[in-house]
Amino acid sequence: MLVDIQNLKIGFKSRTGFHQAVKGVSLKLGTEKLGIVGESGSGKSLTARALMKLLPTQTVIEADKLEFDGIDIRSASEKQMRTIRGKRAGFILQDPKYSLNPVKTVGSQVAEAWRTHKGGSKRAALEAAINLLEMVKIRDPKKVAASYPHEVSGGMGQRVMIAMMLAPDPELLIADEPTSALDATVQAEILRLIEELVSERGMGLLLISHDLPLVSHFCDRVAVMYAGHVMEELKASDLLSAQHPYTRGLLNCMPSLMHPKERLPVLTRDPEWLK
């Protein structure tokens, strides 16, 4: 088991009291594609960040089990974490505009990721970077490698981020809303690319998104989160016929091109769900 989370609780101390954001989440992930969906504030990103120990120090994290490939994350030192982050588990964030260094060329950033984890000369790293850019289907990798982040489009920027994450051959890829900042056409391309690379390399994928239909097309399993709880976990192919009223509510309130609705049903939240 690559990831094993049991009864994870994440809370924040604030001036006025204590806020529990994640309230007992259990997830398991092997070499498969797991999607986490839910509205904003449901705790999906926090769960992924807790797994990489990327939360601020004042965060209160409790769990019965929080393991990455048998390593206990709760007691892992920063040094140990550094051998996991990037090297064994890559993290792709939402907006490439804010994740890339604006004053370094794209190629040198990918090469840096390669060199940090694999060593070797600068020239070898740059060559490897160009190969990686080619692997994420960038047409003119040499030219793109020499350009700065502001000179490439959003979709291209996200490909660069993926190339950078692939450099150390990680076992797990965590993608936190990797396509929400992109156009519909580019969105599908990027997800297809992630899916291909993950299957080819036998990696695990944790895809976090608020877009249910998108996740159902690109994942094997889906966990639906609401207010810090996992409402239900089901096979992605069954998502559109989900039974839980929350999942059904989310699916129903989406407008549809093929099945027009006079009026969109509004989600009614039931306090019973949280019991």
Binding site: E39, S40, G154, D183, A184, T185, V186, A188, H210, L212, P213, L214, S216, H217, A236, S237, L239, L240, S241, G249, L250, C253, M254, P255, S256, L257, M258, H259, P260, K261, R263, L264, P265, V266, L267
Partner: protein, 247 residues
């Protein structure tokens, strides 16, 4: 208010980004513009709203040509709602202050009454009035942005991706609100979005833009049935249809 756009061209420092766009919207109708980022759809909308004074061609409301620089009275008739409710409200002003800006500028009377009315029109509690934007949720903020547009008692609302920053559950509420307001007040909508299902939900006619050209205008019904001509329209449609079908 009928809207006529004829051969609209817009350039930024010599680079043409809108290359001759024409379309008409009847009074009380709603027209949608779809396209990818960089296709020029928001630029068209901003020029219509009078936020860009450097365009050529013809923009006419109710048959009257809009001048390059709009008179103040124009903004009573045409209002715009922006994409990001987090960025479009002043963070240091209360909702009351935000909503009273326009009536003050235009010397309207009974400002207090108007604010109370417009808050209930967008289904916000009266208690929201003396809150700051950061104390409201994303959906509530978008309601404030819509209220700010409505307080001018406009006839045309220009909507720039009004729901793309919101969760689907909140998106449904805002889309319902927009549909109700249009029916109640006989408003004319022009809406920009990259999401075909959102556009076809609210609009009866859709213009597809790519690279500064409006390559096709099609009714929502024809789009649904697949009676489209341009390759780009077909691509956008098939992506949208594919996602709706079970995997």
């Amino acid at each position: 208010m009928t809207i006529e756009i004829d051969n609209l061209r817009i350039s930024f420092v010599g680079r043409e980004v809108v290359k001759g766009v024409s379309f008409n919207v009847a009074k009380g109708a709603s027209f949608g513009i779809v396209g990818e980022s960089g296709s020029g759809k928001s630029t068209v909308l901003r020029a219509m709203a009078g936020l860009n004074n450097d365009w050529s061609g013809r923009i006419a409301f109710s048959g009257e040509d809009a001048p390059l620089f709009r008179p103040p009275a124009f903004f009573r008739k045409v209002q715009m709602v922006f994409q990001d409710p987090y960025g479009s409200l002043h963070p240091r002003q209360t909702i009351d202050r935000i909503l009273s800006e326009l009536p003050l500028v235009h010397g309207m009377d009974n400002i207090d009454d108007r604010i109370a009315k417009v808050l209930s029109a967008v289904a916000l509690p009266q208690t929201a009035r003396f809150r700051y934007p950061h104390q409201l949720s994303g959906g509530q903020r978008q309601r404030v942005a819509i209220a700010r547009a409505l307080i001018a008692e406009p006839e045309v609302l220009l909507l720039d991706e009004p729901t793309s920053a919101l969760d689907v559950s909140v998106q449904a509420e805002i889309l319902n609100l927009l549909a109700d307001l249009r029916a109640e007040r006989n408003l004319t909508y022009v809406m920009v979005s990259h999401n075909l299902s959102v556009i076809t939900h609210l609009c009866t006619e859709v213009g597809v833009m790519i690279d500064g050209h409006m390559v096709e205008q099609v009714t929502a019904e024809d789009l649904r049935l697949g009676n489209v001509n341009h390759a780009h329209t077909r691509e956008l449609r098939s992506l949208s249809v594919e996602l709706e079908e079970p995997a």
